[in-house]
């Protein structure tokens, strides 16, 4: 016999009340776990993908769209920009590095990105198999792309026009897979990377260069406007020389922090280009996401408060049914402190069960959600990851248990043994 054994026996005697309290608490903790894992990983991912990129320059349009398409490869680009403009930007003293990206095609829903070698180096990408592309029409696959498509070095594939699945194919200009990148937890994982020249060459085959193809309207507009000509309104196809060639965006690194003051304004005011700050736009995006997160936090808070109430009621109800047991325990030598402790221990055990169940539920849900997002070619999140903040969820559950048990425990400890056991006799 010991305190823990005694307590677990008592808990098992009231499975319905205990189970309800555990379930409610588990739902609250699961919601908080999902928020913690999902938002945490998304913020982490956004931060990693945007790290070291000070400015993104694209065609005039929404700055956030430029960031979403140029850095995170989530949205459609705003259009194309002349390569000559990129060269001019690269020559500016405020610019330390400029990485032009050419978008427009995809394979199996994964974007084919024409990028210089330093783009892969920027994200510290390294091949886990094969090598990096060294010539046009060679491609290296992100880890997720390789895993989902099953392609490996030596395989060939033809891109499809547009950024979504189902676009018309460029069968006449297949890519050769020369490598697969190791998973890095960055945007590279879900991209197909090739030299910028490849993208131009694919479209030169059609007598054109890439459009900033949209997954829907843009790509279809390109087709509608004559895929062979690629002269749709989303950006006329570039020609084969620098003067006429286009890219989709250029990722810039400032030469000095002072550039942040002058360069964006200069680009936005003095050129036909649009400059967008990843830090600013990402913060704006997360603020927008944050509203939803706050609503979910409030919802989780209500669940947790409900769980605390259910726990308190379950304990009170269980103790009412056990008042003679408590009286007998006091009679046999249990101090008020011990009775108080037994009740608190019951609450802590229930809270621990609720927290563990909630954490498991939350992780499971995020893993399922992550699988769905991966199938949709969105940034992956995983439930198979423990965050340090989750320890606080356990602490929160214990705090709820202690608060909920306060009144029942005090009430149990104050049991009048003499009155109860005498059955009203004097």
């Amino acid at each position: 016999m010991n305190l823990l054994r005694l307590t677990t026996r008592e808990l098992r005697a009231n499975p319905l009340g205990s189970g309800l309290a555990v379930l409610l608490l588990a739902l609250g903790i699961a919601t908080l776990t999902v928020l913690l894992l999902f938002v945490g990983q998304l913020e982490d991912r956004f931060g990693r993908d945007a790290r070291g990129i000070d400015l993104v320059v694209g065609a005039k349009g929404s700055p956030m769209q430029i960031i979403l398409s140029g850095i995170y490869h989530l949205d459609v680009p705003t259009g194309n920009i002349p390569l000559a403009e990129v060269r001019r930007l690269q020559a500016l003293p405020q610019v330390r590095r400029a990485m032009p990206l050419a978008l427009g095609d995809s394979f199996g829903g994964f974007r084919i990105v024409g990028a210089p070698p330093e783009y892969v180096a920027h994200y510290e990408g390294r091949p886990s198999a094969g090598r990096l592309p060294g010539a046009p029409m060679e491609a290296v696959l992100g880890a997720e792309v390789a895993a989902r498509t099953g392609m490996k070095p030596g395989d060939a594939f033809a891109g499809a026009h547009g950024l979504a699945e189902g676009g018309p194919g460029h069968d006449e200009a297949p890519y050769q897979v020369v490598g697969v990148l190791a998973p890095g937890g960055t945007v590279l994982d879900r991209l197909i990377l090739t030299p910028v020249d490849s993208v131009w060459r694919v479209h030169e085959g059609h007598g054109a260069a890439p459009t900033a193809g949209t997954p829907g309207a843009g790509a279809h507009a390109a087709v509608r406007d004559g895929h062979d000509g690629h002269d749709g309104p989303q950006g006329a196809d570039a020609v084969a020389d620098v003067a006429g060639r286009e890219v989709t965006v250029v990722l810039l690194q400032y030469a000095s922090p002072l550039a942040a003051v002058s360069l964006p304004r200069m680009i936005n005011q003095a050129t036909a280009l649009q400059a967008a700050s990843p830090a600013f736009e990402t913060a704006r995006l997360l603020r927008l996401v944050g509203v939803g997160r706050d609503v979910l936090h409030a919802f989780a808070g209500m669940l947790v408060a409900g769980a605390a109430a259910a726990l308190g009621v379950a304990l009170l109800s269980a103790l009412r049914g056990r008042r003679y047991d408590i009286a007998v325990m006091r009679l046999l030598g249990a101090s008020r402190a011990k009775i108080f402790t037994v009740t608190l221990l019951e609450a802590l055990l229930l809270a621990t069960a609720g927290a563990l169940l909630g954490l498991a539920l939350g992780h499971g849900l995020v893993e399922v959600l992550g699988g769905w997002l991966a199938r949709e070619h969105q940034p992956a999140v995983t439930g198979l990851r423990l965050l340090p903040g989750e320890g606080w969820l356990l602490v929160l559950a214990w705090a709820i248990g202690l608060v909920a048990a306060g009144l029942p425990a005090w009430s149990a400890a104050r049991t009048d043994v003499a009155v109860l056991l005498s059955g009203g006799n004097s």
């Binding site: 005694l6 026996r9 059955g423």
Partner: protein, 230 residues
């Protein structure tokens, strides 16, 4: 108070109650000075409301008297703080309530063992088994209270009260609502088991059927009666 009581301990009254008074609002119950020696078996008798249960609660340290003093085995209960008093009660006083009130979630063995655990005594499976066997409950040790007959449950309550070898065994209305046969059986059990363990027995009841079985009686009325002649 050691379980193996030596001669000095034998000289000390198990119960020494002096000028006890318990107030309930404007009402007060006054009890006579009273001594119970080792192995004595006392009947506290009186009508409902005469203070029998209150007296037992005072002796068990479940109530603090409004006035007066109770010493058990020489230990002044007023000198013990809450937790110490609880532990003292668990170790030295056995209590058989009117209803057995066994803990429903525990087996019979665990119910008896619980008395040792809560009194802060080390586990003693042999003692638990011996007490259960003495009360004819060896075969029921792994049963739960709802699987026991009323008589078995009553014997289990006695086993639980005796397992710590108390110096004083208190029983509050143990024969209430029992038929004559069951009443006689319960009395036999208490008198015999208390005697076998060398404990003093104080049984409080308003049941006239048990009078003849006790040579020492304390009769309580609305006001406490005088102590009986030795």
């Amino acid at each position: 108070m050691a379980p193996d009581r030596d001669e000095a301990a034998a000289m000390t009254p198990v119960v020494d109650a002096r000028a006890l008074l318990q107030r309930f609002g404007v009402l007060a119950l006054e009890f006579p000075d009273w001594h119970v020696s080792l192995r004595e078996q006392w009947l506290v008798i009186g009508p409902s409301g005469s203070g029998k249960s209150t007296l037992l609660a005072l002796l068990a340290g479940l109530r603090r008297p409004s006035a007066g003093r109770v010493a058990i085995g020489g230990q002044d209960l007023a000198a013990l703080s809450g937790a110490a008093l609880d532990r003292f009660r668990g170790r030295h006083i056995g209590f058989v309530p009117q209803q057995p009130h066994l803990v429903a979630t525990l087996t019979l063995r665990d119910n008896v063992e619980l008395a040792r655990y809560l009194a802060g005594l080390p586990r003693d499976p042999a003692r638990v088994a011996a007490v259960l066997a003495r009360l004819g409950l060896a075969g029921r040790a792994d049963h739960r209270p709802h699987q026991l007959s009323r008589g078995e449950a009553q014997r289990a309550a006695v086993a639980r009260a005796l397992v710590n070898r108390p110096a004083l065994l208190l029983a509050d209305e143990p024969t209430a609502h029992l038929d004559d046969a069951a009443c006689a059986e319960t009395l036999d059990l208490l008198l015999h088991q208390a005697g076998e363990d060398g404990a003093a027995l104080v049984l409080a009841t308003h049941d006239g059927r048990v009078k003849a079985r006790f040579s020492h009686r304390l009769a309580l009325g609305g006001v406490a009666s005088a102590p009986p002649a030795p």
